[in-house]
Each structure stands twice: as structure tokens, then as C-alpha cells.
Symmetry: C2
Subunit: 501 residues, 2 copies
């Protein structure tokens, strides 16, 4: 295969969405389902989700969060309890109206047994979990209550994109109730930081932490914390959110507790979630024109070993050596899991297997032939380097060195993503500049950091005029010394504007 040929067409710079679709296909991660807007998560994709789940689940449990399971279907009356909440989700609800099918006169099935009250498939579970909290919480002794569920949710989607935006997706949703406002606010911020640290330390994705503007908040929340990442087309992706609800939902669901002083008070609640979208993010941040690159700490298998068999004669020594190396490497613990190594002993040409390993994004590829056995060395091909460039390690040192090689891959991925984001982030203090960027920009997107002080309707107007939204008001940025680009008011916040998924 010549140097110019790539495993994926189209390539990123020609057609980013087309590249994304194609990468998911060659890496065999997911595909569109026959049901409009839904996806099938294939074994390679689901295995990444399993790793993400197991890491996050452990972290949640260390914070005293317990898993539970609540019903898929929510009565309309529940949704109606919180006015903003229902407005936020009504337009994308899958509604169950019947509970039986019967054959019509033409032999076709028709829905019968209509429900008295239609039910909607949960788009999120604040209202149904709120009803349980109201029953479970009696006094301050029951607080804080920290509950999480791993489940599927549904928000009807007319323009689906695998992992990023589908009618059904998988997620976790944490819900907590607290005696004080301060504690609830801290909880939501702690979750933001837990998530953002996970994105950086495991997914190797640099993120901006901050809060959402009024126009972008979760329907019914007092405050939505977010962490945003830049994809390789310069667009933002919201990686996950944590909401501080104040007493909005506890009032709607009547979550009261008897305080230490014997007074009945409303609890302060939070909710927080991340979804299978994280898989889309790591593909769009790290992938290249040859396929996916899996960050080692969430890769289902960090290493693939490819036997380069003799054309004729006995190959068993080579195969045995491959399995020996696999066994040695799998004794190594790396970020809470033992390494997982695949020996690709399929009946295919070795060169074909190497390309397959590249497309699927194994962080490290090891190729073992008779020469490697003779020389007693193990060549590591890092997915972050050129295809032919190997790190040759004496076989005795493999086990002791492997973790630092994986760390290096992680750091390289992170550094590359960070410098890409920095190169494509612009500080803007004049409206003309803002307009020039978002009007004329046809190629790569940008994060535009600019002073803003305005309301929801101004945000809506900016979105209409420029196709961009406020992604977040970053934490750790001082207030701008400039006045708002649009309203000219002083005391503006520095916010990030960008196109987004």
C-alpha cells in the first residue's frame, strides 16, 4: 500500500462527517439500525462502553453512589410537573399509547387496548426518580441520597449521527438529594470534575470545564455544568453534564425531609450523566485517515500480536511465542485492569492483519516472526506513530516497560488534541472579528472566546444568525475587561462560542 493511500475514504480534510461514518465502519464500532434514528452498537464499540462503565461505576461507588433501576415508561402527568422540563422534551418524545396488537381485516397488525394515560419512554428520569425519592426520604438521616442508573433513554431524533445523536442511546444518570444547597452545588461540581478528569486521564481528551448559559441549561435546572471538547473539525462536543436543580424538582415531586430542627424542608437535588456519545468523541478527537486510535486506558484490548508465519515449514514456534507474550503482558495491571492482548491467528495474510489492527485502533501492534525470535526482541508498533516505525524492546524488558509505553501513547494523544484545540481557539473582543470568523469560515471550526452579557433571546438570535451557541462559561477564566460583543454591557463573562454537535 503506497504512502498516499489511506485506509479510510473520504479523508478528514475533504469530508469530516463522511470520514467519521467511514471510520466507524472500518473499525466495526456501530451502524444504523433498521429503526429510524437508532443504532446498533457492535461488539467492538460496545466493548469500549463496557470499559467506560466499569471505570466510572467504581468511581461513583467510591462517592457513596448506589445503583438502582427505575421504569422505562413515564406517565405524562409526571412530565407535566415541571413546566420547563416538559417543554424541553415534548418535541422529541416516543409515546406509548397501546398495549396490544390484533390482526385487522387485511391481516395486518393494528394496535389495540389504548392506555387511559399515554406513557412516554424516558428521555431522562428526574420525574420518575423524584417520585421514589419523595417516598424514600423522610428525615435528614436519609440524606444525602445518591442513586445512579445505567440504562437506555430516548429522544426522538430526525437527523441521527451514530453515537453523537441517536433516538435511543445508552447512558448513566445519577440523581442525588441533599439537605443543603451548598452540599448539592458541591456534588454537581464534584461530578463535573470527576467526569472531566476521566475525559482527560482516560479518554485522553482535553476538555474545557464550565457552566452553561441560560439558553443552554437543562430544562428545569438552576445551573448546568458542562465539559466541552473540540473535535478535529473544530466543532464542540458536549461530553457530559451535571445539573444543580436547587429545589425546583423537589418542589415538583414533593421531596421533603424533616431537618435536625424538626422543620419540613425541600431537598436540594442534582443530576448528572454521560452517554455512549463519549465513544463518538474519542473517534472524532483521536482518529486519523487510517482509522480509529483507541486511548490505551479505555481500549478493550491494548495490544494485538500478529504472527508472521513462515511460508513453508513449522510455524508452531512463532504461534507459541505469540501466546507466551500475550500471557506475560496480561499479568500486567494498568489503570485498574489487567492488560488485554489479542493474538490475531486468523487465516489471513499478515499484512492484511496489520492494516486491520491499524483501522481498529489497537494502541500497540506487535509483529512476531522468526527473526524476532532469533534476535530475542519484540517490536512495538505504536498506533500514534508511522506504520513502519517500531520500538524494538528486548523480550526480557517487555513486561517492565509496557506501562510506560502505553502512558506515552496516552500523553501523545492528549498533547496532540490539546495543541489542536489551542491552535483553533481565538480570543475575540470585537464584534466584527466574531462575524468574520463565523460568517466567512467555511473550513475548520473555531472556539471563539469572547465577552458576553445577554439573555436567552439574544443567544437564540446569535444561533440563528451564525449557527453557533455558547458552549460554556469556562471556569478559571477571569471576567472579561471588555464589554459584551452584542449588548455592549460591561461586566461581561468570557464565554466560548462554537458550532457544535
Amino acid at each position: 500500500m503506497s504512502k498516499e493511500t489511506t485506509a479510510v475514504t473520504p479523508i478528514r480534510k475533504d469530508d469530516f462527517p463522511g470520514w467519521y461514518q467511514s471510520v466507524l465502519h472500518v473499525a466495526d464500532l456501530a451502524e444504523h439500525a433498521p429503526v429510524r434514528g437508532c443504532m446498533v452498537i457492535k461488539p467492538n464499540g460496545y466493548a469500549i462502553w463496557e470499559v467506560i462503565q466499569s471505570i466510572l461505576d467504581k468511581k461513583f461507588k467510591l462517592l457513596g453512589v448506589k445503583n438502582a433501576y427505575f421504569p422505562l415508561l413515564i406517565p405524562l402527568s409526571f412530565l407535566e410537573k415541571e413546566a420547563e422540563h416538559i417543554e424541553g422534551f415534548a418535541k422529541e418524545s416516543a409515546v406509548v399509547t397501546h398495549t396490544r396488537l390484533e390482526k385487522g381485516s387485511d391481516g395486518k397488525l393494528i394496535p389495540t387496548s389504548p392506555l387511559e394515560e399515554p406513557l412516554i419512554i424516558r428521555p431522562t428520569s428526574e420525574t420518575i426518580i423524584g417520585a421514589s425519592f419523595a417516598k424514600w426520604i423522610e428525615s435528614y438521616r436519609d440524606l444525602p441520597m445518591k442513586i445512579n442508573q445505567w440504562c437506555n433513554v430516548m429522544r426522538w431524533e430526525m437527523r441521527p449521527r451514530l453515537f453523537l445523536r441517536t433516538s435511543e442511546f445508552l447512558w448513566q444518570e445519577g440523581h442525588t438529594a441533599h439537605a443543603s444547597m451548598e452540599e448539592a452545588q458541591k456534588m454537581s461540581l464534584d461530578m463535573l470534575n470527576l467526569y472531566a478528569d476521566f475525559a482527560e486521564n482516560y479518554l485522553a481528551i482535553p476538555v474545557v470545564r464550565g457552566e452553561k448559559s441560560e439558553g443552554e441549561r437543562f430544562p428545569g435546572a438552576m445551573n448546568t455544568y458542562t465539559f466541552e471538547a473540540m473535535m478535529q473539525d473544530g466543532k464542540a462536543l458536549q461530553m457530559g453534564t451535571a445539573h444543580f436543580m436547587g429545589t425546583n424538582f423537589s418542589k415538583a415531586s414533593d421531596i421533603q425531609f424533616l431537618s435536625k430542627d424538626g422543620v419540613r424542608e425541600y431537598a436540594h437535588t442534582t443530576s448528572w450523566g454521560v452517554t455512549t456519545r463519549m465513544i463518538g468523541a474519542l473517534v472524532m478527537v483521536h482518529g486519523d485517515d487510517n482509522g480509529v486510535i483507541l486511548p490505551p486506558r479505555v481500549a478493550p484490548h491494548q495490544i494485538v500480536i500478529i504472527p508472521f508465519l513462515l511460508k513453508e515449514g513449522d510455524s508452531s514456534e512463532i504461534i507459541n511465542r505469540c501466546y507466551k507474550i500475550k500471557e506475560e503482558l496480561e499479568s500486567v495491571e494498568y489503570f485498574g485492569r489487567n492488560l488485554s492482548v489479542v493474538v490475531d491467528d486468523r487465516d489471513l495474510r499478515a499484512g492484511e492483519k496489520s492494516w486491520d489492527a491499524i483501522k481498529k485502533g489497537y494502541p500497540i501492534r506487535i509483529e512476531i516472526g522468526s527473526r524476532e525470535i532469533k534476535e530475542g526482541r519484540v517490536p512495538l508498533f505504536l498506533r500514534t506513530k508511522e506504520k513502519k516505525e517500531a520500538l524494538s524492546i528486548p523480550k526480557e524488558e517487555l513486561v517492565s516497560k509496557i506501562s510506560s509505553v502505553l502512558d506515552q501513547i496516552h500523553s501523545d494523544l492528549y498533547a496532540k488534541a490539546l495543541s489542536y484545540r489551542e491552535e483553533n481557539t481565538v480570543l475575540v473582543s470585537e464584534r466584527e472579528e466574531f462575524e468574520a470568523i463565523f460568517r466567512k469560515e467555511v473550513g475548520v471550526g473555531r472556539f471563539v472566546v469572547a465577552p458576553f452579557k445577554g439573555d436567552k433571546s439574544l443567544e437564540a438570535k446569535i444561533q440563528k444568525d451564525f449557527g453557533v451557541t455558547i458552549r460554556c462559561i469556562p471556569h478559571n477564566l477571569p471576567p472579561s475587561c471588555h464589554s459584551c460583543l452584542f449588548t455592549k454591557q460591561s461586566n461581561a463573562s468570557q464565554v466560548i462560542f462554537a458550532k457544535s454537535y
Copy 2:
């Protein structure tokens, strides 16, 4: 508390269904959801499911099964592909007909945007996974294909019972495709045995392995393998099933492959699943009039330690000792997990905590006061023994002995359940005897082993007349030397008749 007082009312012999409901409540495992027929699985109940999942998931993966995720919603046209299949599920389908809500003139929400083709919430996923298999499988090289998903399913239920029969429940569904009939049949039998071994070795529930009669088969299957357990009211509970589909579903979904000889053939498929019903089973098999008894190998926490604090003076030594014991015990690996130990340091009377531990079913309770510290011994109260009867172990021997104590609890639970089943199983060879048992029996149920040779319609008649069904045709029983109780045909099979959940 006097000897006659029980923690649970009603007691088993007075009102078994009432006892069951009450036990779930005192052990805080699950409750009815505000949505008709659905349940909320509370943290204590969900934790059991997590253990079951993690054990089974590892066993599946050792067989080469990979996890994936398929859509929740299934188009009606898919369901219609297999005639028996749709008949089996049409009467209990939750149907999605609209994808949007709007406010009507009275301010109430009404469903709008009707779907062209209604979708049903999966009652099981043969048809939607079949569509993927048809795409994914090209040649014999792609076989066997072994896929599993952990998910929620829905079968509309008018008479719900927590864990046993609810409109929504959680399960895993494995689906495999094979080149030969023999291999597929073996796969479904292997899964039956994997499940049944799990029931016996982990849940401590003795089961009868066998196959379903024609009238009880999965809609569309050639053969359904089942494993059945007897509850403490003598009724049978189907614990799980594995289906051999032959080519019925591959023909319906067009799952073809190119054989080694270059011929296009239909694949032979299987499916197999177990559900959250297993939690109901362990409650109904092992529970007593004081609450749940958790079998140690699936108990989320095997041990609870209760500090018996001094009325006055320093209690820190006692608390420290409790945490020290917890730490030591948690270093012990038992059936693939480290032991999990809870120190109940809540601000409650010790006696109250002991009763709480009994109700929740911790296999072992340890009570530590100043006397235990002075004597250097640790008293183990086994949930399978009387409340006050302790096994006193020198503290140095605790770690080395704990596994065998847990094994003993497991064996005791299993033995007790087995002898209960044996005492309530009757061999019957005359119709009069059969009628006497199922007509007159008003108290405890029975497994009646009897010769049967008949068809679906006869099974339906027996169900109508006696309220019993053929639970299974047990493996490892010789054919009966008697003729069928009902048809008088010879060469009858020995089958088990019972009332069931």
C-alpha cells in the same frame, strides 16, 4: 423479642404471596412503580443483579460470546416475519405510535406526529438481532456468531408480581448462529447447563433440567430447554430458558452463509436468557419468616459487623476492631470476588441492627463488643442458624476459616431446598391420583412426575381443568413404563406437572 415473633408478617404458611411481598419490603429489594405493572429495583435488590451479571458475563465471555446493543424499538413488520413469534407476543405489546407531545386546547399534553409504522418495545430481540445477523454473516468463516445483550424488555402484564412477572424487566439475551444443526443444538444445551450450574452453585437453588413440551415452547423455537425450581409453596418457577431455533428464524430473517463447499445455506440459531426473576427465586426458595437469606456467592455483602458499644466510656477500640476485621476479611477472595463486608456503625441500638441484618439476609453477622475483644474471639452468627447461636472463632483463624463457613451456608441452603423439593415431589401413574392431588390440594403445591403423551390441545385442557402445566420433560429420566395418564398411549415421557409462577 420472643421466639414466636417473626420479623415478617404474614408468615409463609399463612399467606405465601403476602409473605413474599412483605419480605421484599423489609429487605428493601424492590417496590411497585407508579407505572402500572412496572417495578423499581431498589439498591439492595439491584446489587444482587450486579453480582449475577458479573458472574454470568464472565462465563459467557469464556465461551466466546461478545456483548453488543440493539434497538429498543422493533417495527411491526419485523415481528410479523415469524408467524408463531408474533402470536406469542402480540397480546402483551407496548406500542409506540407517536413521537411528539403538544398542548391541546385544555392545556393537557396530547401525542402528535404519528408514526407511519408503529413500533413495539422489544419483548425479546430475535427479529431485530436476526436482521443484523443477516448483514453480518457472509460465509462459514463468520460462524459461529455469538452475541449477547444486557437490557430491559417489556411484556405488558395485567397481574404483576415484583421480580416474577412485571411489564418491564431486566435480562440478558444471547443469540447465536451456527453452520450446523448439531452445533446449534449443543450450544443451547451448553447454555442450559451453564445456567443450571449457576443456579445450583451460586444461587444454591436445586433445579430440574429438561425441555419444554410443545405447548410451552418459545414461540418459533424447535426446542426450548428449561430449568425449573420449586418455591416454598410447592409451585414451580421457570428460572431461565435456552432455545434451539433450527432454521426457523434464519429463514424468517434470511440469515444465510456460504458453506465450505460454496453452497448458500441457512444458519442454525439459538437464543437464551435469564432475568431479574432470579432474584425473586432466591427470595422464595431461601427466605424465612424473618426475612431474606442471601446465598453467599451472590450476596452483595457476605458479612455485616455490628459494634456493641459501651453504654458509657470510650467506644473507639470496638469500632476500630470492627474495621480491622472488615479489612482482613475483604482480602479474602471467594468465588471470583473479594469478600465484601459492611460495618453497621449507624446511630441505632445494636439489637435493632441485628434484626435489620437478619431481615436483609446477610449470610453472616458478626457482633463485636468489649468481651469479644478481651477474649480474642469472633462470634459468627449464621443466617441459616438460630439468631442466638454463634460459631465462636479465635480471631487469628478468622481469615483462614471464613470461606469454609460460607461454603457451609451455601450447602445448607442447597440441601434444605433440595429436601423440600424431594418431599413435595410425587411419582404418579394413575389418573385418579393426579386428579386427587391437583383437585383437592389447597395447601402446598407439588411436583407431580407422570407419564404423558399428548399434544398442545391436551396440554391446554389440563391447564384449564387443573390449573397446572407441564413444567418440563426432565433430562436424565428414563421414558415411563406406564402409558400416558390422559391418552393411554404407550411410550409416554415422564414429565413434571405443577402449578407455576
